[in-house]
Amino acid sequence: MCRHRIAIGIAIGYCLVAALWAQSVPAPELPEGTTKAKATTACTECHDSRIILQQRLSKAAWTKEVDKMTKWGALVDAQDRDALIDYLSSNFGVDKPEYVPDRTRSAESKHKK
């Protein structure tokens, strides 16, 4: 029984550490706007903002994406759908400059820095 509790404790500890590590990795914020908070909640619950920042899509394509993600579990209230599509297509439309990603670094180079 005692061993069982220790094992559960270790497992919980592992999950907490993993969760904290994941949270400690910064992700760029979504752009300012009245829908920023709702977009953050709806989208970044499952994936980080980089996936959004790198898209350059028309409003029609964003509409398809929002509807697909809602079907897949993104929490988007019906009354927020159009505002979310507007927010994404105005910030990540086809005419926006390319998003330039960062690179992973070796642990060594981080320490050197």
Binding site: Y14, I51, Q54, Q55, K64, E98, V100, R103, A107, K110
Partner: protein
């Protein structure tokens, strides 16, 4: 043959787009991202982890594990203990059974040097843009994969005559109501002597992000056919029906106009990789200080063989045969090199074009499709020579 005018008109290719990029986030230039075992990779996404290899790394036949790209549709398994891990063999077989990692190791081991490429590599260069991870050039790598043959594992289970497809289910953790990442391959490919349940990459256990402790290795095919963190290998009497077989990972049967949708009944699954090549050196946007320039790169052809690679240094007006590297294997890329002496200082566009033993060659522009798969357009880099 591509005319010079046509070639120049379409200088919207990979490297040009890459070199024209302007950072929009100051944050990106000062990243603290450290991912143990994965060094100097381009972070397309952290959660889910999608890492692209910079093409300048492609100067060796085998891609080191720390530079090998990572593609995930979902979260990686949060807990995976190799001691407790098992893969279940189920479905249209006489004797379903489970294998531990130690038991897998008792099968005869086979090695395959394979070029693994994400179907969406080059998606970023589609015009009009399509949704998805915006891979540019480096969602590809070549490794020596080792492990038991899938057919040996299936033989032990006693394959039934009704078995027509083999489905792979991994331990990917599915967020929300996202469909699970499950895919299948036809039985003929599953029984091929080079199709593996791979446990090793380049002689070492698979890295965690590349599918430890075991992944499918479907050689010559898109990366999605080689599911990671295997939990179940199920023999089916038909192709698996699920999102990642249909509508995902399908190509239109006939060419469609850019921006158009394809009718679902007019599509087929993406399987083998196409003929393709990349320039790894010189880097796009770089300045050469000498007129003597060594053009280097890699070329691969899925299940076919690379027959030749030609290099152009004058915008596609003339092409010259490159020298192919000595290292070769059926499903692996070939290194190539071409010594070029620039006539004078100035700006140049260098391009490469591979041809395979079936006569397939690379198009000038990406063949547009709604998901941006299999972009094998001619690669090109712009450089400045200042000698």
């Amino acid at each position: 043959m591509i005319s010079r005018r046509h070639f120049l008109k379409n200088l919207s290719g990979a490297a040009l787009a890459a070199s024209a990029a302007t950072p929009i986030l100051g944050w990106a230039a000062d990243s603290p991202l450290v991912i143990p075992g994965k060094e100097d990779l381009i972070v397309r996404s952290y959660r889910f982890l999608d890492l692209e290899t910079p093409v300048e790394s492609f100067h060796t036949w085998l891609t080191p594990a720390e530079h090998f790209f990572v593609r995930n549709h979902m979260h990686e398994p949060s807990t995976l203990d190799a001691k407790d891990w098992k893969v279940n063999i189920t479905g249209e077989v006489e004797r379903p059974y489970a294998l531990s990692l130690a038991e897998l190791g008792k099968f005869p081991t086979h090695s395959v040097v394979n070029t693994l490429e994400c179907a969406g590599n080059g998606r970023a260069f589609q015009n009009p843009k399509v949704p998805g991870v915006q891979w540019q050039r480096g969602a590809v790598g070549t490794g020596r994969f080792s492990g038991p043959r899938l057919r040996d594992i299936l033989d032990r289970a006693g394959l039934k005559g009704t078995g027509k497809h083999v489905m792979f289910r991994g331990l990917d953790e599915v967020p929300g109501k996202v469909p699970p990442f499950i895919r299948s391959i036809p039985i003929e490919k599953a029984l091929d002597a080079d199709t593996l349940v791979a446990t090793h990459l380049n002689g070492a256990p698979l890295p965690k992000h590349n599918g430890f402790p075991a992944r499918a290795l479907t050689p010559g095919w898109i990366g999605a056919a080689s599911c990671k963190w295997l939990a179940e290998i199920k023999v089916l009497n038909k192709e698996f029906e699920g999102n990642f077989m249909n509508p995902a990972y399908r190509m239109p049967n006939q060419p469609i106009k850019p921006g158009e949708a394809a009718k679902p009944e007019d599509t087929h699954p993406v399987t083998a990789l196409d003929i393709k090549s990349l320039i790894s050196s010189p880097a796009g946007g770089s300045t050469a200080r000498s007129l003597a320039i060594q053009v280097q790169g890699v070329a691969w052809a899925g299940e076919n063989n690379v027959e030749r690679v030609d290099v152009s240094t004058d915008g596609g007006n003339s092409w010259h045969a490159a020298e192919l590297g000595r290292d070769q294997a059926r499903y692996a890329w070939r290194l190539f090199s071409y010594r070029w002496k620039a006539p004078t200082s100035g700006d140049y566009t260098i391009a490469c074009r591979a041809t395979d033993n079936k006569g397939r060659t690379q198009p000038a522009n990406p063949v547009w499709n709604p998901s941006g798969y299999l972009n094998n357009a001619i690669d090109q880099v712009k450089i400045h020579v200042q000698a």
